[in-house]
Amino acid sequence: MTTYLDLHCHSVASDDSRATVEQYLKFINVLRKRGNTVDGIVLTEHRQFDFDVDYSQLAAEYGVLVLKGAELDTCFGHMLVYNITRGLAKDIDFGDVKMDGRELIKAARHHGGYVVPAHPGRFGIGLVEYMEQGESFDDVSMVELVNAGSKPEENERAQALCQQNGYLGTAGSDAHLASHIARAVTEFKAEIRSEPELVEALLSGEFRPVYLEETAAAPVG
């Protein structure tokens, strides 16, 4: 069983996105008709998490898994958070753009979630910048290696970061428009149906980042 998930995208709930969740799901079906394999998305809205919003009906209508996470601003750049619980939301102020990234990583693990630093090679705001300034991150073992919204040289910096530190790498589109969805996805060697299963799959290390084009010949299921 292989699962292809876009681990990083933003709907209109994020102030700088112009795509609704339904438009993403419609567009994924266009990609499928073209021969690509995309099983689902993780919505990672900026600086927020809505426990009440439920996309299960839309997901069933379009046959696309829809999971929820968040992209939070920290003093060490943006971080993607998966399997957000009420306990984590109680301990961490998601709107605090200067929160301590290391504390976020620890708190997420404590509450059963997982944090992946986003676009680490991005100039000015990526994890690479902070590591070059002497910061170290003992609790980081994977980063977003491929961000389809980053410049090629920024993804190359992320690649070098992974090679130098032995980090694993995920992928996501960082889509803010419907047509940008799934330009990069993470290929998991497991079936994923929920946020806890996503964290389990990340912890297994059995995944790799791929561009959409690489899913064209992927076997279904």
Partner: protein
Amino acid sequence: MTQSARLYFEDVELGDEIGPAIVTVADDQVVDFCSLWGNPAPNRFTDQEQAEKVGLSEPIVPGIMSMALVSRVLTDWAGAGTVEDLDLVFRGTIPHNQPLHVGFQISDTDQDESGNHIQCDITMTGPVPDRPYIIGTARLNLPSRG
């Protein structure tokens, strides 16, 4: 991208890519635009010194001029009077005298009593595929053959 004789709702499909149209904004076009707009030169859009005073490395294309440019590319493709809404997010400053690549992709279609609507995703980049200067969407109302 060339001027459309007449574009119909049935001519487009979800996922269709249009363009990119390649346009360049010359210094004197910005001066003319600012004059018509009521913001005469010299200003940060036309003058190096004025630009540096507000922290820019060079004069930039005004945002409202970029919106006009995108509108023109859309109506060149789909026909006058078709654009119902244009919603752009500026992610970078837009330079003068450089090729600007304006591309569209159809991201939604729907028909109701008010018309035959398509939504286009919009990106404006420099010549190298890179993070865009602008992203956004436009909603158009097209005639139907039916």
